[in-house]
Each structure stands twice: as C-alpha cells, then as structure tokens.
Symmetry: C2
Subunit: 257 residues, 2 copies
C-alpha cells in the first residue's frame, strides 16, 4: 500500500507546522510519496525582484521570469529543505521534480482565451520508476515542476500532480491519497473550523458548489479529489496536516466518496 | 566503466556552449554522472536581492541568505534546466543534490580563522545508490548542495564533489574523471590557449605552482585532480567542454598523472 500525501502552501510557509507535519510523515509506515506546493515564497521572491505576478482563478500566470522563480523556489529551496529535514528524521527521502527520471511529462496549456504562459497539464506519469524507488525504501518528495520532453520546464498545479501520481500508481498498487492543509477538512462554514464534513459525495458537493458554500480556492482541490475518488484509488481524504498519518478512528478529516 | 564529468560555471553561463556540451555528454556511451557548479547566476541573483557576497580564495562565504540563493540556483534552476535539456536529447537524467537519497553527507567547515558559514566538507558518499541508478540506465546530474544529516543544507565545492563521487565509485567500478571547462587544459601561459599541457605530473605541478605560472583559480581544481589521480580512479583529465566525450587520439586536454 502506498500513501500519496500532498501538503499545501500554508503548511510550508510555517516552520513549526511543517516540522510537526514532517515528524508525522516520517513515522508513517510503508510506501509513501510527498507532493508539495510552493507557498508564499515564490510570490515574495518575485516581489523582491520586481517581477509582477498575475493569478487567474487561483492559477499563477507563468511568464519566463516567473518560471525561473518557481523552479528555484519549488524544485530548489522548498524541495531540498524538506528532504534535508526528512533525512534528519531517518526518512530516506529523495527530492524530485517531474523532469527527473522523466517522472511527469506535461504539455504546455493551450487555452482559447487565457495565455497561462509556461504552465503544464500532466500528460504521463512514470509510475514504474516511482514504484521502484518505493520498493527500495526510498521516499519520493515531488515538487510541481514538470517538463514537455522538448527541453522546457513547466509550472504545474501540485493538487493535480498528487492526483495524477496517485492514479498512475493505483494501476499497480493499492493507493491512499490525502490532501493535507491547514483546515480540519471540507468546511460547511469557512469561518467555523468545527464545521468539517466527515464525508462528501459528488451530489452534496455539487449542491454546496451551487449554493456558493464551497469557496473558490477549494474548487480545483475538490475537482481533483473527485476525479481521484472515481479511479482505482482506494481512499481519498482531505485533512489537516496534523492528521497526516492517523488511521481509522483517530483520523479527522473529510473522506471523498 | 563510469564517466564522472564535471562542468564549470563558464559553460553553464553560456547557453550555446552548454548546448554543445550537453549534446556531447548525451552521446557518451556507458555509465555516466554529471556534476555541475553554479556559474554567475547565484552572484547576479544575490546582487538583484541586495545580498552582499564575500569570496575568499575562490570560496564563497555562505551566510544563511546566500545558502538559500545557492540552493535555489544550483539545486533548482540550473539542475532542472540541465535535466530537461538532457531528457529532450533522450538521455534519462535525474537531477540530485547531495541531500537526495543521502548521496553526499558533509560536515560544516570549522576553520580556525575564517567563518565560511554554511559551507560543507564532504564526509561520505552513498556510492551504492548512484551505482544502482547507473545500472538502471539513469544518469545522475548532481548539484553542489549537500547536507549534514541534522537537517541543514550546506554549500559544497563542485570540483571536490566530482572528486569524492569518482573516488567512492572507483572502489566498486572502473572510473574516468574529467573536469571540463572553457580552456583546452592546464595552460603554461594563461593568455595563450595553445599552451596546454598534454600531461601534468605532481613534480611539474609543484614547480609551476612555485613559479606562480599556475594561477589561483586552478589551484583547488588541480589539488582535487591530483588527489583523484592518486586513488583507484583509472584516468583523470582536465579539458575543454567541447572534448567531453572524445576518447583516444581525438582527445585534447591535460591528463593528470
């Protein structure tokens, strides 16, 4: 069984939260993969370098300079810092981007009205290579930078990468997928942390979406989660990073069904 | 047989030179590893961010902010750009820092008079992991960021990493080590590109050093090269990046004997 765990930017931005999460992740038994986003660091670096950032529907428009920044921050600083911390916790992690060992090939997004720039949509996953690392007790830590096979790097959504990696691995192994962030799960009221749902099915999701209760930032995450839940993946959950390694009764979060 | 090839910053800084080199490297048959430095990009990024840089005897003093920059540039942008280009040339490269899979553990330098900051001296190499990748036709591309096993990243000299990796692999395999840069080899006259030596032994090196003919920047490279030549490594050469994959008569460069 393989745990595919994605952590969001709000955990990466907070040194203490990240440390708590990494302790839990390191203790998780069995095969596992960590997929991380970038947090606010890329935005603040762009600001320091006077490179204007444009975000449409929660997606960063990636011009050539922004691609350099996201590659430096996601595949460099964030990825290597996480791996060094995991190594210190006796977890034999290896930091990878989608480029490395050709694990994630993507295609530059061709949108009819919006030029997203150097943004990639996942095309193929080298699941065999990831499985081989896991079989050798190595823990892949994946940053959301992919490539097009023609020498170009592409910025790619980390929730989508987690979903695609989990789906590809689920064809050769049992897979649990968890999206970990700073909330207890999918909230009925974003202002009330105790309003998390234990379960969410497609029908309720569509209804909450229509009512505007599930907010903009959650939509791409939940679209990915439902896509995953309809695949061979045996369990898809959305939870707080503190519950990343909890199983059974002790688990708190939203199961996507 | 494994080729361990190190490319210097002047090649990385020049897109055309880098492309010529990567074509040659991709064509090199058999097991191979590429180790790269960082070039001027880290220095120019530090300048753009108003972070003052201090270099003593060709070694960068690495304060906490500079460590972030070198990790972003070396392990992020430079490493992933090289790997994407190699993948496009059908070379199944994987970008690694010393942290990943614990391939290079180092110890923070403790110098009696100079505080080098977050600079690491190599302590151990996980040669078995590198050999395993090579056995699976995967080509490691290594950036000069290592770790201390306690969660800290360390900036490490790329010539030293090439030497240590080659020495560790030479205990389990035949290894050729090449330091590739923008000159034809070790020059008797730095102003005259045609003055390269076909061979250089320790005695002549000491004599040239005493006469001040071999200049400051070449000293750490040659110290590493002689250390390598005294080990189990079967061949140590210093050459132009354009000759990275030449063998026998076609090879132009300086052999360290």
């Amino acid at each position: 069984m393989i745990h595919v765990i994605k952590i969001g930017g709000n955990i990466i931005d907070d040194e203490n939260k990240l440390d708590v999460f990494l302790n839990r992740f390191a203790q998780l038994p069995g095969g596992k993969i960590l997929i991380h986003g970038g947090g606010k660091l890329a935005t603040s670096l762009a600001k320091d370098l006077n490179i204007e950032q444009q975000i449409i529907d929660g997606r960063r428009i990636t011009d050539a300079e922004t691609l350099k920044i996201t590659t430096m921050v996601y595949a460099g600083l964030v990825n290597k810092s996480i791996v060094a911390k995991l190594q210190a916790k006796s977890c034999n992690a290896i930091g990878l981007s989608g480029v490395d060992g050709n694990i994630i090939q993507s295609v530059k997004r061709n949108h009819p009205t919006i030029d997203y720039g150097w943004v990639g949509d996942v095309e193929s996953i080298n699941a065999g290579f990831l499985q081989n690392l896991i079989d050798n007790n190595i823990v892949p830590v994946i940053s959301p930078i992919t490539h097009d096979g023609k020498g170009n790097l592409l910025n790619t959504n980390a929730d989508t990468i987690a979903t695609e990696v989990a789906m590809a691995l689920s064809e050769i192994n049992e897979v649990h997928l968890r999206f970990c962030f700073e909330k207890l799960g999918v909230l009925l009221n974003p202002e009330d942390d105790s309003s998390w749902l234990r379960m969410l099915d497609k029908e309720q999701y569509e209804s909450l979406k229509t009512q505007g209760i599930i907010s903009k930032g959650m939509l791409p995450k939940l679209e990915n989660a439902f896509r995953a839940s309809e695949s061979e993946i045996s369990k898809v959950e959305i939870c707080h990073a503190d519950y990343a390694n909890e199983q059974g009764e002790a688990f708190i979060g939203t199961q996507i069904v």
